[in-house]
Structure formats: C-alpha cells, structure tokens
C-alpha cells in the first residue's frame, strides 16, 4: 500500500474510533428511552406515620368487607386476598388469638382483629398485624408491622421491623427493639434497655419513671451576659453572636442571643440561653440548663439531668439526654435528630425523636458518660 492510501486509512480509522463513543448516545437521542424528567418527591414523606396511614387506607379499602363479616358472625375467618396474601381475621376477645403452633415460628398471615387482640408469645409475624381495639403482643415476638386503633403494648424482648402505630398509648417493655418507625396519636413509652430508630408522638417518655414536673426555667433575674464578657467574640452581626474558640456560660447566667461557636461549648449549671445555639465542637449542658431555641451540634451533644430545650435538637454525632430533661412541649412539639441517641430514664420529648444509626434508653445503673453505643 502506498503512503497516500495508508494515511487515508489511518485517518478513516481515527475518525471511526473518535465517533464510536457517540453511537450509543446517538441511539439514545433518537429513541429517547430515558428522556423523561427525573421523578421528584412531590409529597412530603418525612411524616413518620406515612406507612401506618398507608396500611390503614389498605385495610379500609381491601378488608372492610371481611372485617364486617367476621364481626357479624363472631367467628374467625381465614383465606387469601386477591393478591394472594393470606389473612386471619379474629373476632377479638380477652383470650389469645389462636395461631396454629406450626405457624408461630413464622406466621405469614395478615392478622386482623375487629376488637381487642392478644397475641401468643414467641411468634414471628412476617405480615402486618391490625387491631381495631387494643393490641397486646406476646413476649419475645417479632412484628413486621403493627397497627392498633387503641393501645399497643409490646412485652419485654419483642421487636418490630418496619413500623408500629397506636391510636392511643404505645408501650414497649424492657429490652424491646423498635426498628423503623414507632408512633402514636397519644404517647409512646419505652422501658429501659429499649432501642429505637424513629419515634413520634405528642408525648415520648423514656424509662419507667413518671414524667416529672417541668424543669425550672433559668433564673430570669440573673444578669444577661454582655458582649464584653465573651472572650473570642468576633461579631454580633444580624443578631447572632459569633464566637471563635470555645465558649462557657457561667452557672446561673443567661444569654439572650443566638450563638454560633467555632469550638466547644459548656453551659454550666442552671444557665439559660434564650436563643438558639450552633456548636462546631462538642457541646455539654450541665444540670438544669434551659435553652429556649434550637441546639445544633456538629459533634457530640450532652444534656445533663433536668435540662429543658425548646428545640429542635440536631446533632451530627452522639446525643445524650439526661434524666428528667424535657425537649419541646405539648404546645410546641419539636424534633430531635442525631446519629446516635442515648436517653436516660425519666427524660421526655414532645414530637419526633430520630436516631439514624441507633437510639437507646439507658438502663439506670450505668451513667450515660460511661457507655458507648452498642452496635
């Protein structure tokens, strides 16, 4: 082959090689197999009751007729739904629901009661459980999901995998593991040793102790901290005080501004912060501290006993809430969010508590600072 043709061949090969990557793209341009706009979240699905509400709608839509038949006959009804889901409708009474022994190790039936429902112990419920009245779970049972129009009680050692919702009080005994969501229209109470992920109720109580009185507000008569008192104050622009380095609010003192601290923060005993606070370093509040606004921490956040926080609390690492502390209020529920959340018995929150990795109600014998997060 002469030089001329060789060069021509080389050019053609180079051109072909250059155009080769465009071939799949050209086909996609013509066919438009993946050209529609990305689907985006149009409804807000942050609501922790989302799945419970969806299941309730499913019950109303699909099971209403079956429930009515069972209610009228007073007898248990079992069968399969149109989509092949097996179900067992029990009339509901003081006695335990009769689940065949060979199904207890893995019960794939939808279990539904037209009234109250008591479940036997040591069951694994692989499908949803629903009670139109109160639902009392058996010990050491596992629930995929459960919905009760009345109260919902999990006995010690039980676990939920996806969600729980109660129209009235939701109670979890010692050592229960609540994965996914747990919510109530009235209250959620978790015994010591319970682990959780995402909770929501007008009132969330942790531990066996009854909720105590509201912690006393920080001394309103104490002199507010002035700019000159703050070492490391960089500016007070826009109503927020920016502090370089660490910050300490002395005992009993109060601060009436939003605060952003680049270092660590310590709020000493019975001090009062009227605004909100952002801490880039570790945050610690001693006994009796009150914060009217929000607390946002990039590192660990620790609240001692008897603290009060208006909320929300956002922590990017481990949050510890001391005994008797209160977050939010009945009139102004709020959100507590952290990677890990450790709660001492006697604390309470109003609204949502969301632990992304692990939440735990501590057992009273071990103080919070001596415990790590169990995997």
């Amino acid at each position: 082959m002469g030089v001329g043709p060789a060069i021509l061949v080389l050019l053609l090969l180079t051109l072909a090689w250059t155009l080769l990557p465009f071939v799949p793209g050209w086909r996609e341009l013509v066919r438009k197999s993946d050209a529609t706009a990305l689907p985006i979240q149009r409804r807000s699905e942050v609501d922790v009751r989302h799945f419970a509400q969806g299941f309730r709608a499913y019950v109303d839509r699909t099971l209403a007729g079956i429930l009515e038949r069972s209610r009228r006959s007073g007898a248990a009804v079992s069968g399969e739904l149109a989509d092949g889901t097996p179900y067992l409708v029990v009339p509901g009474s003081e006695a335990e629901a009769e689940i065949p022994a060979d199904e207890r190790a893995y019960c794939s039936r939808l279990i539904i009661s037209t009234r109250d429902l008591r479940l036997p112990a040591d069951c694994v419920h692989a499908a949803e459980v629903y009670a139109a009245g109160d639902l009392a779970g058996g010990a050491r049972s596992v629930y995929r999901a459960a919905l009760a129009d009345g109260a919902l009680t999990l006995v010690a050692g039980s676990a939920s995998l996806r969600w729980l919702h109660a129209g009235r009080a939701l109670t979890a005994g010692e050592g229960c593991r609540l994965c996914g969501r747990a919510s109530s229209d009235e209250s959620v109470r978790l015994a010591p040793g319970c682990s959780f992920e995402r909770l929501h109720a007008p009132l969330l109580t942790f531990g066996d102790a009854a909720p105590g009185p509201e912690p006393a507000a920080g001394a309103p008569d104490a002199a507010p901290l002035a700019e000159a008192d703050l070492r490391g104050l960089v500016d007070t622009m826009g109503g927020r005080w920016l502090v370089k380095g660490d910050f300490e609010l002395p005992p009993g003192r109060r601060l009436e501004h939003d605060l952003v601290v680049e270092g660590a923060v310590i709020l000493r005993e019975s001090s009062h912060l009227k605004g909100s606070l952002k801490s880039r370093g570790p945050f610690r509040a001693e006994r009796g501290v009150t914060v009217a606004g929000s607390v946002v921490g990039q590192r660990d956040v620790v609240f001692g006993p008897g603290c009060s926080v208006g909320g929300p609390i956002i922590c990017e690492q481990t949050l510890t809430i001391g005994a008797g502390s209160i977050v939010g209020s009945a009139a102004k529920p709020t959100t507590v969010s952290a990677l890990d959340i450790l709660v001492e018995p006697g604390a309470r929150c109003h609204g949502t508590v969301w632990a992304h990795r692990r939440g735990e109600v501590l057992v009273p014998a071990a103080p919070a600072r001596e415990r790590g997060v169990t995997a």
Partner: protein, 471 residues
C-alpha cells in the same frame, strides 16, 4: 427508578475512610512519574535551559502554571465525586418534620410571566406549611402582559396569604426587585422561587428547616429540568444539572465547604442579608454575590439535595449561550470584588477559602484551557521537545476539554439518580463544552472593556409551552 429508591441510594451511610483509595492512587501515580523521570538520561530531563530565548521560557512557565491549575481543578472534581460515591453523606436538617415552624415569606420575582405565574401560585397554596405562618408575595416588576391581573386574582381569593408587590419604578433586574421588596418583609426567613418553578407540598418545610441552625444564612435546593426530553441541548443540560447538584453541591455540603445559593428554590435569612447590605442591584450573578458576602460575614449556605423542584432549561443554543455569558460575567465580577477579601477573611476556614476561590474561578477555566492549547501547540512547533513529557501531559490532561473529571462527575450523578440510558449521551457533553467555551471566553476576554450599564435587565429562560405540570 422512582424517587424513593433514588433517595435511599442518596442517603446510604457511606464509608468514613473513603479517601484512602484515591490517596493510594495518587501516590502510586506520583511514584510512577518520579520513577520515569529518574530513569531519563540527564540530557532529556525537563530542566530549565538557560540557552532558550526568554519568550520561550516565559511560555513554558505559563504552560506549567496552566497544567497546575487544570490538575487542581481535576483533583477537586474527582475528590467531590469519590466523596459522593463512597463517603458519608450529610443531610442534617432533613429529619425536621415537627417544629414550631417560623413565619416565612415566599417571594416570586416575575416580569411578564403570565404563562406560568398561575401554576406556581396554585402549587404554593397547596403546600403543607402552616397557613398562619406563610405569606406568598408575587413580586411583579412592571409586567406588560397579564401577570398583574393573574396575581391580583389570587390575592383577592386568598387575602392575607397572597400579598403582591407591584413594582412600578426603580432599577430593572431581579436583584433590584428583591432589594426593593426586602423592607416590606418582616419575616426572618425569605424563600425565593422563579415564576416557572413548581414546588412540591413538602418543599417549603424542607427549605425552612436549616434555618433553625443560627449559622445558616442561605439554603439551596436541587433544580431538576422538566423539559429534558425536548432536544439535544436540554438533555445535555439535564446531565450537567445532575452533575452540578447531585454530586458537586452535595459533596461540598458533605465536606463543609461552600455550597452555592442559586437564586431560586432556596432562601435567605433576612437579618443576615440586611446585615451584609442586601442584594447587590448591579450584580449579574446576585446569587453568587450573596453566597460570597454571607460567607465573608460568617454565615453558611447549606444545600439540601432532597429539596427538589422542577425548572425549565433553555431549549435553544442561543439562549444557552446568553445564559452562560451572563453567568461567566457575574462570576468574574464576584471574583474581582471578593476574591482577595476571601483570602484574608478570619471567619472562614482554609478549606472554605480554597473552595470558594475555585468556585469563583470556574468560568476562568475556559480561557485558561484555550491558552494552554495554544501554548502547547506553539511550543511544540518551536521545537521545545525536551520537556516532552510535560507537553504530552498538558495535551492529554485537557484534551477532553480541560477536565475529564467533569465527565466522571456527571456519570456518577446519573448512577446516583438511578437513571440508565441517559449516561450514553456523555460524549455529547463535549458539544456543550465547546459552546460554553466560546461564550465564556468571549465574556471573560471582553469583560475588562465592558462599560457598566445603568440598568441590569431581567434575564430569564424563555418560557416554552408548559409541559406536564406534575410528573
């Protein structure tokens, strides 16, 4: 892939030590380069040659500098993409579903928006934000079409909730309109949507949530092209937006760098903006300007990847070039005003300074790349072959239009979005880059000679007929 599954992929835990792999790769590569150079005969080493003419040595030095700049940007993009793929993702404010929600004003700047203004007002009336804490303020700036009548109709039907501001005089332009509206607003949180956007029900809460953090001065959500399927340009812009938001912005949020406020589908803290002097009415990029000034004053901008909203992207190359031209001028303007101040600002961390400067330099990359090409070719034909390795590196490092890492970023974004076939259009991104290259180079080269104009005009994407309003 539906929105929820895509979100799960977005929110996965990630690895704390994701950076080990890229560091190992860089170290191995550097060791290989050193080994190759060490094996070269002395006469072939890329050492300064005092016998060369001065102009050649200057050109070589300039080429080395350009290579360094390109490599820095390349590392930055790779770092962001790997962080997005492997690192721990930060969405600290996403969980806020229960709160004593503060009062908020939603501003909708509008100039001749009769085709779209009704849709956004309807969407805002359906949001799940507490009605008594919400105010919707259409900002009608001297519209000559039916915008005013439509807005007044909504105001009449929803008195107290929709409170329009009809602007009759003052400087033209979005920034000037926003600045004039600011004194009328008493709420501390102000969200801004362009008129052709359609917010979802939960979007207002999602955008307000970060303001519970007293350090936050601005928040930005993600814009998703609604008209992606129109032509090649819209498909390329869809890919670019994905790379820019899904990877770039979120990585900056993960790494606590400088996410950028984009002027729409976002919001500002009124006290913070007032404290820094309000919007710059002569700025061509008032969003970048606000981001930088807030940063200098110690306020942070946060990005919320899940706070998504549809937008209309340009459908013609002409309007795209105008858009890029304006953005380039605006960025360069902000760089000139605040670049030096950012370097010596005591309220920003070193990482923020570096990222902020790289962000502002982004529209200088095109003319730098072009200059690098020219230098490489000229030096080659001048017979400067001794540092051939360097010249080859220069050519290959930006033979993919200066920054292969951007392609990687866009591909990663499509993976995170769960899309499949649209990534095949990636080679066509070069066409988009060529167009951008021309527009940006022209904007940058002519900027020193541009006369300041009295009025900044309204710049907006041409409104096409509305596609399906909700997908």
């Amino acid at each position: 892939m539906d929105a929820e599954r895509r979100t799960d992929r977005d929110l996965r835990a990630g690895y704390a030590h994701w950076w080990v792999l890229p560091v190992v790769v860089v170290v191995v590569f550097a060791a290989a380069v050193v080994a190759v150079v060490a094996a070269l005969p002395v006469q072939d080493l890329p050492l300064p040659d005092p016998m060369r003419p001065l102009y050649v040595r200057i050109m070589l030095a300039a080429l080395y500098l350009i290579i360094a700049i390109v490599v820095v940007n390349l590392i930055r993009h790779y770092y962001f993409t790997l962080n997005r793929l492997l690192g721990r993702q930060r969405h600290p404010y996403l969980d806020l579903d229960t709160a004593d929600w503060p009062r908020v004003t939603v501003l909708i700047p509008a100039h001749n928006e009769e085709r779209v203004i009704g849709d956004i007002l309807t969407a805002l009336l359906e949001v799940d934000y507490p009605r008594d804490r919400l105010r919707i303020m259409p900002l009608n700036d001297r519209s000559t079409d039916g915008t005013r009548a439509i807005v007044d109709g909504f105001a009449q039907a929803h008195a107290g909730l929709v409170t329009p501001f009809h602007r009759e005089d003052g400087l033209a332009g979005k920034a000037a309109a926003l600045q004039d509206a600011l004194p009328l607003i008493t709420d501390d949180i102000v969200l801004v949507f362009d008129a052709d956007y359609i917010p979802g029900r939960g979007l207002i809460k999602q955008l307000v949530a970060p303001f519970f953090d007293p350090e936050v001065g601005a928040v930005m959500g993600r814009v998703v092209p609604l008209n992606a399927d129109v032509n090649l340009l819209t498909r390329l812009l869809d890919l670019e937006r994905a790379g820019g938001y899904q990877v770039d912005q979120q990585a900056r949020m993960n790494l606590r760098l400088v996410p950028q406020y984009g002027g729409t589908v976002g919001g500002i803290r009124r006290r913070a903006v007032e404290a820094i002097g309000g919007w710059d009415v002569r700025s061509l990029a008032e969003d970048t300007d606000i981001t930088m000034r807030l940063l200098l004053a110690g306020w942070k901008t946060v990005y919320q990847n899940r706070s998504e909203c549809y937008e209309q992207v340009p459908e013609t190359w002409r309007s795209r070039m105008r858009q890029i031209f304006r953005w380039a001028r605006g960025h360069n303007q902000v760089l000139r005003k605040y670049g030096g101040r950012l370097l010596f600002n005591r309220r920003t961390r070193l990482a923020e300074k570096i990222d902020g400067l790289l962000l502002l330099n982004i529209y200088l990359m095109s003319p730098i790349v072009v200059l690098g090409w020219v230098l490489g070719v000229v030096l080659w034909y001048l017979g400067v072959t001794k540092p051939g390795l360097i010249v080859i590196l220069a050519v290959t490092s930006y033979s993919t239009l200066g920054n292969f890492a951007v392609f990687f970023e866009i591909a990663a974004a499509t993976h995170l979005d769960g899309t499949r076939s649209r990534v095949r259009l990636l080679p066509f991104i070069m066409a988009g880059f060529l167009v951008s290259l021309m527009a940006v180079a022209r904007a940058t080269v002519t900027q020193p000679f541009a006369r300041p104009t009295r009025n900044v005009h309204w710049h907006k994407t041409e409104r096409s007929e509305r596609r399906s309003r909700w997908v």
